[in-house]
């Protein structure tokens, strides 16, 4: 069994305010994993440590069997792409140029984008269904369209691992499902390893094979959604009162909230 991401006793985070402590997990190649937890539980911190935005304080992390500390940012970007919840561009780049930026980790210092880079960018635009917007300016698009462009940029990196930090935070239900459907396709067809953070627990339960549940910087549960999602855990972690039922369409666990 080969692993995309292995973390043992991972600790780290922002200097003073917030730290993740002793997180361990092994994501298999082609896995579709999710991270859930309340605000401030350390979900984004985890992705930032894995993508070297924040330093790893202690513990071991390997990305495709290479120790994280030994990977340069460029080497990391050739293996792993990251999509955030939104990107604000200072200047009006056109969509195709934004997606081409995904090829930057593969270019030499003075080299220019070649025909292969353009071809890869074109394919990425088609896979995320934004080919028709290729000549538009990035800030003329709606949030849903823009997120798919950023996903296309990530795919242009031809990554083996994709990290997503609340990729659907500003999207309506239709676009949200659309993004997850595209991710599922990439996962199934290209064996792309996915690690996603989202607050939509039902969708995460539907799409992820394994969930990491965080609270206050520590891991509270780890396992298949059907095994770990229970009213007691959700009450403890999210402070919500709920029942778990089955989605009649997919048989995935579904959370019914008690708001009374």
């Amino acid at each position: 069994m080969s692993y995309s991401i292995q973390a043992s006793n991972l600790s780290g985070g922002y200097k003073a305010s917030f730290q993740l402590r002793d997180i361990s997990f092994n994501i298999e190649q082609g896995g579709f994993w999710g991270v859930i937890g309340p605000n401030g539980s350390g979900k984004s911190t985890l992705l930032k440590i894995l993508s070297k935005v924040l330093p790893l304080k202690s513990g071991n992390v390997t990305i495709n069997d290479h120790p994280l500390q030994q990977l340069s940012l460029q080497e990391l970007a050739r293996n792993m792409a990251v999509v955030g919840s939104e990107a604000h561009f200072t200047f009006p780049f056109c969509v195709f140029d934004v997606v081409l930026m995904g090829r930057i980790p593969f270019l030499t210092r003075l080299g220019a984008y070649g025909s292969r880079d353009r071809m890869i960018a074109e394919n990425a635009l088609k896979r995320t269904e934004v080919w028709e917007f290729r000549d538009r300016l990035i800030h003329q698009l709606s949030s849903g369209e823009r997120q798919r462009v950023l996903l296309a940029r990530a795919l242009a990196q031809e990554p083996k691992i994709l990290l997503l930090d609340e990729p659907t935070a500003h999207l309506d239900l239709h676009y949200e499902i659309e993004i997850f459907r595209i991710l599922k396709n990439l996962n199934a067809q290209d064996n792309l390893t996915v690690l996603a953070v989202s607050h939509n627990l039902n969708l995460m339960a539907e799409f992820c094979s394994t969930l990491i549940v965080l609270r206050d910087g520590t891991c509270r549960a780890l396992g298949a959604p059907s095994e770990i999602l229970a009213p007691e855990l959700l009450k403890d972690v999210f402070r919500i009162d709920c029942q778990i039922t089955r989605n009649p369409f997919s048989q995935a666990p579904t959370i019914l909230l008690n708001t009374q």
């Binding site: 940012l73 200072t90 200047f91 995904g102």
Partner: protein, 282 residues
């Protein structure tokens, strides 16, 4: 003879300063992710003027001494600004802008103070305050500045694509494999060369470094590999043209060139802004 000894050095000075200002402007706008950034936003010009003023007051009237004092003060202020804004190996651009504005205000106040106290001595370098190419004295200084500008321009071009990657934020750039802090430091250094070399020769000439990158961006797009060289050409052309106006329109009086860069630049910019509103939203 007039052409060779007066007009040519002055045109060369316009070329060097125009390239420096427009290049630094496009780098700062990209680096600081701020469309309002211009080459003077971090206080380099105030510090450069302060240095020149100190040299004048100490009665060093040789061009070279004024030049060295000015460029030295400009560099020192940039080091200071970067040190103030850095915390634990990171330099957030918003803090950088804030530190720059504070440095600019501080050195601006010192300049006013010295100017008030040493009115007679200061008069010889009045052109620094107004911004002008009329100080073009010694050719060797133009050559030194040209070399500095060439180095600054080359570094900027070398890192141009990194600026593209940083246009949606530094975290995005890290995800694209860019060592952001190192790139920022290098670009900051190269911009200091550009701005220092131009301030120490011509004082602060407004508007060129702000408007030219915006105009050029409308024509060639925001990709920095095209934006930076096109801005350099545009900046040089614009400044030399405005200097011709500055010398001739009210002849025999010569108007500081900064007056014309703003007087002609502002309406042209508004015209472009109205015509291409869609591409000018930030």
């Amino acid at each position: 003879m007039v052409i060779l000894h007066i007009r040519l050095p002055r045109a060369l000075l316009g070329l060097v300063v125009g390239i420096a200002l427009a290049t630094a402007g496009s780098v700062y706008q990209g680096l600081l992710r701020n469309p309002l950034a211009d080459p003077y936003i971090l206080g380099t010009s105030s510090a450069g003027t302060f240095g020149a003023l100190v040299a004048a007051i100490l009665n060093y009237h040789f061009n070279i001494t004024v030049y060295i004092f000015s460029i030295g003060a400009a560099f020192l202020s940039m080091l200071l600004v970067y040190r103030i804004a850095s915390l634990q190996g990171r330099t957030p651009v918003q803090t950088l802008i804030l530190a720059g504005v504070i440095s600019s205000t501080f050195f601006g106040a010192l300049v006013l103070l010295l100017f008030t106290l040493f009115r007679r001595e200061s008069f010889s370098i009045l052109f620094f305050l107004l911004g002008s190419l009329s100080g073009a004295g010694s050719n060797i200084l133009i050559v030194i500045s040209a070399v500095l500008v060439l180095i600054g321009f080359s570094i900027s071009m070398y890192l141009a694509r990194d600026l593209d990657a940083m246009s949606s934020g530094e975290e995005d750039a890290i995800h694209l494999g860019i060592p952001v802090e190192r790139v920022k430091k290098l670009l900051f250094f190269s911009s200091s060369l550009l701005v220092g070399a131009s301030v120490s020769l011509a004082g602060s000439i407004g508007f060129v470094g702000l408007i030219i990158p915006h105009v050029v961006r409308l024509i060639v797009g925001p990709s920095h590999r095209k934006l930076i060289p096109a801005s350099a050409i545009g900046g040089a052309f614009f400044l030399i043209l405005m200097d011709v106006f500055a010398r001739t329109v009210f002849s025999p009086l010569e108007v500081p060139v900064g007056v014309f860069t703003s007087l002609c630049g502002a309406p042209f910019f508004i015209y472009l802004l109205k015509r291409k509103q869609e591409e000018m939203t930030f």
